[in-house]
Each structure stands twice: as structure tokens, then as C-alpha cells.
């Protein structure tokens, strides 16, 4: 497969000190669903807007299907955007909104109307063709915005926080619809979001951004299972962090001293004995040990808090020295109330070595 | 920036108003300023560079008193407009429960703006005059037995007329400033134990300050430059600075002095505008 979008060392400097995007190189393959993920201000939207042509990079080049479009205005790029606020034209009907791009492309009235109707069918709202945007609900506007953007069959569809204006229920539904639409039309999707769940469920590939740079780029599961940094580990999913010192190194398995105990974990990082590192593990990958049970790696401390979240319990355990970790436990339906751990009682947590992340240096996120 | 450099349309969008400002504002003001330094040489005037005209304005009591009187009357007009407009706007925005009533009452106060300003001044002449409607009404109803000349041709008549004319300019900015005050701020204030008066004094008034400043500026400046009301209802001690300017360009044929007066007026208006701009900006930052 060929790269449909190639970003070559793209930077956007607003001034010497204010940097929006910093030296990003990225290639997106034809038909991929790529998500740019990060907190607000990380440069993800700016990057998307540069691909759309709404902002110009200060350095670097943008290639679209092999053509350099760095300096092309939006109306000469074969990409289309779904705006965060949808940007439906309030003075036009739904049909006119969708046909707008076709007419600008030189299509005649009849063709434009026919294609607009097809696009409306695709998003499941054929009966809305003569309504005005303000007569529609949020979810319907979202679909019209989608239809308007894909009706021109762009090479790439850009989606700027497309689901952020919807309520939670609608958002879940649209996630699946967007994913199905992507499969149906086969256009490359590049989406910007700050919602990790959205990124994990919808995309083929996630690009995590941090302060204008790419922090990690990979398949959702790879990023979840092998975060490149504490930042990524904390942004996608929840991660417990422990500061640790390297005690021994042998055959890719390192021994660490952390929280008053010894923890073993496999690592391919170049470490030396005595180095300070940060260990991380996910609450759902740890488990509470029943009395009498034993495990190779075991953390111990009093329970400070028990949080009920429907599916299960999240238990906070104080390991001393100001370090608190969380461990998740599902609530099997046979559980008797008295078995629920209580704050104040002591708990032991077991973690398998392969579930532990090792990050060099004591960087705490 | 590069959009301007790169396209002709952008250049026109900026260029047309820029040329207009240069041609019809800066150039005329420049000429006006130049003339203000010239000297009168009956029946015309000749170039010079001297401050005689300005000296006359500030030393000749005839002019200086007019200037002071104009300031006084403008201030009174602004103050009385504020007294009428503020409670009105307050009631509309915070107490009126019906959207329909609010819209209609607001429209009712703004609508007179659309009715000829000359007529609105003229009406008061017909009402207040010795042979006017008020006097004949008072006699007809038996309250007085002879027509009185106390109503017309004095400063009271002028303040009344100018207030009547310019009050929409006070209502509009105050109303929109109050509309912008988030309703939950007054609710929060009440929730925090403030009584309505405290809420009014600590929340509503400070947050509507930008509107008050804008309204004061408009009514003050407009009254300051008016020469219709003085002509119609002003009388002998109702001469305002604009009437004097008009005379200099008319019968007195002293264009340099008139120009100097206009420049003084321009400077006063500019200082008031920038003063209130500053206040509005501070108000905006405070929000």
C-alpha cells in the first residue's frame, strides 16, 4: 500500500517560544483509520488543520498522494474535513449543504442532487434532505457533516473531535457508525481526539502526541500493552507508577527494589545496576491475593479506599513512602458482601512480571 | 498577514475604507487644524501660524463661558438619561418575566431614534412655548391663569429636549451590557447570602459599567455638538458651542476661529472616547 499522506518534518512555530507542532514526520497509508490522540494543546488539531490547508507549517512539507500540497489552499486539496462544530451552513438546506462541494467542483444540479441523496442514504437520513440544519438533532447534524465531507470522495477525510459535541449515549453509537462508514467507503480517515477510549475502539493506528511531538505511534493494542513512556502509559488507560532501583540484571530479566520489596520484570532497555527507573502496571492486570495465597511478586499495605464502579471495585493500597497504587477486582456474582475488602484492612497485591512496564529514569508523569 | 499580501480581494477590503478614511476624515481634519492657526482677514482669511484663535477661546469670557455651559448641559443630559435608562434596562433584563414584553418595551424606547430628530426637538418647542400646548393646557384646566414663560428658552428646556432625543443611546448600551451578565452570577450572589441590594451594588452595577460608560459617552458627545435644540428651545442663555461654530462659519465669517472651536470639540470628543474605551476595556477584563 502506498502512503496517501506523508508529513515530512512538519513544524508550526507561532513564535520562538510558542511551538504548536514540533518536527513531526508521519506517513498514513491509503485506507487507514489513524487517530491523533493527546490532551488539549498537544498540537493534534494544528497538525490536522495543516493537512486540511487551514494553517501553513513553518517548516516541513506535506504530500498528498505523492503531490506536494504544502502551500496549496484548502480548496485545491483533495481532503475534506468534518468540523468539531460541524460548520453546517445555516442558510442552506441539508441537501444544499451536501451538494455545495459538488457544485463547487463543477457538478450540474441534477448530478449534485442525486449524489447528495446517495450520501444521505449512506448516513441513514434520506428524509432530511429539505430540512434546515437547525431543525436537526446533534447526532443528525454530525451525520450530515459526514455526508457533506465524503460526498466529494476525498482522498482523505479529516475529523476534528467529531464526537465531542454529542452526549455519551450518542457518542457510543456514532463510534460504531463511523467505524462502519470507514469500512464501507474505504477512504482514509484521520481523526483527532482527546478521548483514549474513542481512539482505542475506532482506529487502526494511534499517534499519541505530547507537546507538539509524536510520543508513540502504533496499533491500539501495542500502545496499550507496551507504552513507550510514562506519559503514554498514563494517557491511555490507567497506570500505577513506582519508583525503583535496578538491583540485578540477567537474561533480559531485571530485578528491582521498589516499595520495600523486590520486583522482577523483563526489559529490553539498556540498564545498569543502581539506575533509578519508574515501574508501571495497570490496575486491572494486578490481583488481590487471598489469605494464604502466595506469588513471586507481592506488594503489601493497608487499604485506604474502595471505589465501586459498577463492573467491579478499584482498591487503593498504601505502600508507604507516599506511594499509593490501585488494583481492580471484578465483582463475581457469588461474592458475599463480607468478602468485599474494607478500608483499613491490609491487602497483598500480585503482579506477573510480564505485566510490568519499565521506564528508564525516575520520570514521574 | 500573508493573506493580504497574496490576494487582491484582501487588498480591496482593507484599501477601500483606508482610502475613505484618508480622503474624508484625515485630510479634512488636517485642513481644519491648519485653518485654526490662520487669521481672519475680512471677508476671508489668510494663512498664518499663530495661536490667537485658541487664545481668544480660552480668554474671551464670551467663548469660554459657552464652552463651560456646553459641558454642564451635556453632563446634565447624560446624567438624566442615565437616571431614566438604568432602572428601565434593569427592569427589562432582570425583573421582566415575559420575553414578549421585554422585546416590545425595548423596541418602544429605541423606536423614537427612527423618527426625525429635528421633529423630536421641535415638538418640545410647541409644547413648552408661551403660546404653547403646556401653557394653554394649564390655563384650560385652571391650574394657572396666565401663560408662563418659564418653560421655554432656558437650560431646563434644553436638558429636557436633549434627554428626550438622546435617551435611546443610553438605553441601548446599558441594556446589552446587562444582557451579557450571566444570570447565574446574580443567583450565585444571592446564594452566597447577599441581599438584593448588595447583589445590585456588588455584581450588577460593576458588570454593567461598560454599558454605562458607552451610554455616557454617546449622550454626552451628541449633546455636546448639538445646535438644533439650542436653536429651537435654547433662548438667550442657551447658546452652545456648536451654535457658536455655526455662527463663525455663517454670519460672523470667522472661519479660523470656527475651525479652532471645531478642533477643541474634536479633541474633547476624542478624549472622552478614549477615556470610556479604557473603562470599557477594564470592565471587559473584569468579567
Amino acid at each position: 500500500m502506498a502512503a496517501i499522506i506523508a508529513l515530512e518534518r512538519i513544524s508550526k512555530h507561532y513564535s520562538k517560544t510558542i511551538i504548536g507542532v514540533d518536527d513531526v514526520t508521519l506517513s498514513v497509508e491509503d485506507g487507514e483509520f489513524v487517530t491523533l490522540l493527546g490532551p488539549s494543546g498537544c498540537g493534534k488539531s494544528t497538525l490536522l488543520r495543516m493537512i486540511g490547508g487551514f494553517e501553513a507549517p513553518t517548516h516541513g512539507r506535506i504530500h498528498l498522494a505523492g503531490r506536494d500540497v504544502t502551500w496549496e489552499p484548502p480548496y485545491r486539496r483533495e481532503v475534506n474535513m468534518v468540523f468539531q462544530d460541524y460548520a453546517l451552513f445555516p442558510h442552506m438546506t441539508v441537501g444544499e449543504n451536501i451538494a455545495y462541494g459538488l457544485k463547487m467542483g463543477g457538478a450540474d444540479r441534477a448530478t449534485a442532487r442525486r449524489k447528495a441523496a446517495e450520501a444521505l442514504d449512506l448516513v441513514g437520513l434520506p428524509e432530511k434532505i429539505d430540512q434546515k440544519p437547525h431543525q436537526l438533532s446533534g447526532g443528525q447534524r454530525q451525520r450530515i457533516a459526514l455526508a457533506r465531507a465524503i460526498v466529494r470522495r476525498p482522498k482523505v477525510l479529516l475529523l476534528d473531535e467529531p464526537l465531542s459535541a454529542l452526549d455519551a449515549r450518542m457518542r457510543d453509537q456514532m463510534r460504531m457508525e463511523l467505524k462502519h462508514l470507514h469500512e464501507k467507503v474505504g477512504i482514509t480517515f484521520i481523526m483527532v481526539t482527546h478521548d483514549q477510549e474513542e481512539a482505542l475502539t475506532m482506529s487502526d493506528r494511534i499517534v499519541v502526541m505530547e507537546q507538539g511531538r509524536v510520543a508513540q505511534d502504533g496499533r491500539p493494542q501495542d500502545i496499550y500493552d507496551n507504552p513507550a513512556s510514562p506519559y503514554v502509559a498514563n494517557f491511555i488507560g490507567t497506570t500505577n507508577f513506582l519508583s525503583a532501583t535496578v538491583q540485578s540484571l540477567a537474561d533480559g530479566l531485571a530485578g528491582f527494589a521498589a516499595a520495600g520489596t523486590r520486583i522482577d520484570a523483563p526489559t529490553d532497555r539498556a540498564l545498569r545496576v543502581g539506575d533509578t527507573v519508574t515501574l508501571g502496571f495497570r490496575p486491572e492486570k494486578a490481583r488481590l491475593l487471598a489469605p494464604g495465597q502466595d506469588a513471586s511478586t507481592c506488594l503489601e499495605g493497608p487499604i485506604t479506599e474502595v471505589i465501586y464502579y459498577g463492573l467491579g471495585l478499584r482498591i487503593a493500597v498504601d505502600l508507604g513512602a507516599g506511594q499509593t497504587v490501585f488494583v481492580d477486582t471484578l465483582l463475581p456474582d457469588t461474592l458475599i458482601r463480607s468478602d468485599i475488602p474494607k478500608p483499613g484492612s491490609s491487602a497483598r497485591i500480585a503482579i506477573e512480571p510480564h505485566n510490568i512496564f519499565v521506564f528508564p529514569e525516575g520520570v514521574h508523569p | 498577514m500573508n493573506r493580504i499580501r497574496n490576494n487582491l480581494a484582501g487588498a480591496m477590503v482593507l484599501g477601500i475604507p483606508l482610502v475613505w478614511i484618508l480622503l474624508f476624515m484625515l485630510l479634512p481634519y488636517g485642513i481644519l487644524a491648519t485653518y485654526s492657526f490662520w487669521v481672519k482677514s475680512y471677508p476671508t482669511f489668510k494663512p498664518a501660524f499663530q495661536f490667537g484663535n485658541y487664545a481668544t477661546l480660552f480668554t474671551d469670557p464670551q467663548y469660554f463661558q459657552v464652552l463651560l455651559r456646553t459641558l454642564k448641559i451635556s453632563a446634565l443630559v447624560s446624567a438624566s438619561s442615565l437616571l431614566l435608562a438604568y432602572p428601565f434596562a434593569y427592569w427589562l433584563v432582570f425583573r421582566c418575566r415575559s420575553q414578549g414584553v421585554r422585546t416590545w418595551l425595548y423596541l418602544a424606547v429605541i423606536a423614537p431614534l427612527w423618527v426625525s430628530y429635528l421633529l423630536r426637538a421641535y415638538i418640545w418647542k410647541t409644547i413648552l412655548g408661551t403660546e404653547g400646548i403646556l401653557n394653554s393646557f394649564l390655563i384650560w384646566s385652571g391650574i394657572t391663569d396666565a401663560p408662563s414663560d418659564i418653560f421655554l428658552y432656558n437650560q431646563f428646556a434644553m436638558v429636557l429636549t436633549l434627554t428626550y432625543i438622546f435617551i435611546p443611546f443610553m438605553v441601548m448600551p446599558i441594556y446589552s451590557a446587562m444582557e451579557r451578565i450571566p444570570r447565574n452570577l446574580t443567583e450565585a450572589s444571592a446564594d452566597l447570602g447577599m441581599n438584593p441590594w448588595q447583589t445590585f451594588a456588588r455584581i450588577t452595577v460593576p458588570l454593567s459599567m461598560p454599558g454605562i460608560a458607552a451610554g455616557f459617552t454617546l449622550t454626552f458627545c451628541l449633546s455636546f455638538g448639538d445646535f438644533i435644540a439650542p436653536f429651537l428651545v435654547g433662548g438667550p442663555d442657551g447658546n452652545l458651542i456648536a451654535s457658536v461654530i455655526q455662527t463663525q462659519f455663517g454670519s460672523a465669517l470667522n472661519w479660523p476661529l470656527g475651525s479652532a472651536l471645531s478642533i477643541v470639540m474634536l479633541i474633547i470628543v476624542l478624549s472622552i472616547v478614549s477615556l470610556s474605551d479604557g473603562m470599557e476595556r477594564r470592565g471587559a477584563v473584569g468579567v
Binding site: V79, F83 | F24, F88, L118, L119, T126, S262, V273
Partner: protein, 271 residues
């Protein structure tokens, strides 16, 4: 909350009554004079005194026979139409420039263009009079048009600029994204969304120009506009004929107000 309100309900009632009275007085202050104007236009007596001795339409008949007055009306229409058109072209451009571009001197630019709103017309009138005389332009209705357009610029700019600020930037970006050139974006997206603001500003400018005296006073040649004609009639004294003109003007204003309310009313979806 409920407890805090209860003792206050009596004083609240008192306050509401006070407010109602105040608003009634304010409305009386604003509208009784206008009704007086209208009433006396039908008075059979030449002097404006109460009570009105009898009713007549004579003053209206006189108006329709008055050719000077009719000429003045046509002059005013001519001036107001072209002054409004000019103010709209320049004002919309200025509002766009203020909204879109950053350029050196922008603050000064804004100050200047909005200045005529607060600047008394007499200064605009006199400064332009000086210039036209200096440049050797004879005073005419056309010089009045330029004067009015300058004085009205600020009105157009404030209204259009306010609308531009409420117009999401993304609409124009979306248009560009869908393949429209900047010119087409302006014609198909920006302009239709400014429509009601431009109409409203245009109507207001028209009325203000139709009604204008201070600038006209200095810039007109031999031709009189309607307010100038009325003004010169007033010098000769108070007559019911002026009331009759006034009544017709009030009527025309009323029609224009209704028109402007209809024209500028935002349709449901527009914010």
C-alpha cells in the same frame, strides 16, 4: 432560599409597583409628545394651543400642493439612497478588514472609522466643507452624500462587525474545504449570513441620512433636503403644517421600523 424570599415578598411587590409606575411615566414622556404632534396636525387653528378648536385636513392639502417640499423629499431620498449604498460598501469592507486581518495601525483604523458615531455632525460637516472649498468642489447634493456616508460608516461597521464575530470561522473554512475559492466563499457563505445585519444597518443608515441636519447644513448647495427645508420653515415660526409633515414622517418611520424588525429578525436557526 425560600425562607429568605418570604419576608421580602411584600417589598418585592412594592418594588414591582414602583417599577411599573416608572416605566409608565417613561413611556408617557417618550410618546405623549409624538401624539401631541400628530393631534395638532389636524387642528383647524393656526396656533398650537389646547384645546384643539376643530379638526381639518387643510394642512395636509397644503403639503401636497407644496412643490418646494416635494422637491426636498426627492432630494432627501436621493441623498439617503446613495449615502446608504456608499456607507454599506465601505462599511462592510471595513468590518471585514477589522475582523479578518491584523495590520499595523489597526487600533487607530478602528477608532477613526467608529469616530463619527460619537463625533458631532457639525465637525464632520465643517471639516468636509473646508476641504471641498479648498479643492474647489462646488457644494451640492453629491457633497452631502459623501458627508453622510462618512458619518454613517460607524453605524454599518458596528452592526456588521458584531455579526461577523458571531459567525463561526469554521463556516468559511468548511466552504474552502469543499472546494470554494475565497470569492465564492464570500458570495455564497459570508454574505448570506451577513444579510440581516447588512439590511438592518442599511435601513438604519437610510433613516439617519434622511433625517440628517448638521452635516447637510454645511455641505449642501442650493438644494434642500427635507429636514433642511423643515428647519428653515421653523425659523419662520411654528405651524400645524410642520406637524402635518411630522405626522407623515412618523408614519413612514413606523413602516420602516416594522420593515427592519422583519428584515433583521434572525430565523430560528441562526444564532
Amino acid at each position: 432560599m425560600a425562607q429568605a424570599n418570604r419576608p421580602g415578598s411584600l417589598s418585592r411587590f412594592g418594588a414591582d409597583t414602583a417599577f411599573m409606575t416608572f416605566i409608565a411615566v417613561l413611556m408617557a414622556f417618550l410618546y405623549i409628545p409624538i401624539w401631541v404632534l400628530i393631534a395638532f396636525s389636524f387642528s383647524s387653528s393656526r396656533s398650537l394651543t389646547w384645546p384643539i378648536p376643530g379638526l381639518t385636513l387643510d394642512w395636509y392639502r397644503k403639503l401636497f400642493a407644496n412643490t418646494d417640499l416635494q422637491a426636498a423629499v426627492w432630494n432627501s431620498l436621493y441623498v439617503a439612497t446613495f449615502a446608504t449604498l456608499l456607507a454599506l460598501v465601505v462599511g462592510v469592507a471595513a468590518a471585514l478588514a477589522l475582523h479578518r486581518f491584523d495590520f499595523p495601525g489597526k487600533t487607530l483604523f478602528r477608532r477613526l472609522i467608529l469616530l463619527p458615531i460619537t463625533l458631532p455632525g457639525i465637525v464632520t460637516g465643517i471639516s468636509m466643507l473646508n476641504m471641498f472649498k479648498l479643492l474647489g468642489f462646488p457644494l451640492s447634493l453629491e457633497t452631502v452624500i459623501f458627508g453622510h456616508a462618512t458619518a454613517l460608516l460607524g453605524v454599518v461597521v458596528t452592526q456588521v462587525y458584531a455579526r461577523l464575530q458571531r459567525l463561526p470561522r469554521s463556516l468559511e473554512e468548511a466552504s474552502g474545504d469543499l472546494g470554494a475559492t475565497p470569492l465564492r466563499t464570500f458570495l455564497y457563505i459570508t454574505l448570506p449570513n451577513l444579510r440581516s445585519a447588512i439590511l438592518g444597518a442599511g435601513l438604519l443608515s437610510f433613516v439617519l441620512s434622511f433625517d440628517e441636519i448638521p452635516v447637510t447644513f454645511f455641505l449642501t448647495g442650493r438644494d434642500n433636503t427635507l429636514p433642511m427645508y423643515i428647519y428653515s420653515t421653523m425659523r419662520r415660526g411654528v405651524t400645524p403644517e410642520i406637524n402635518a409633515v411630522g405626522t407623515l414622517i412618523v408614519l413612514a418611520s413606523l413602516i420602516l421600523i416594522v420593515l427592519s424588525v422583519i428584515a433583521t429578525r434572525d430565523r430560528g436557526g441562526e444564532r
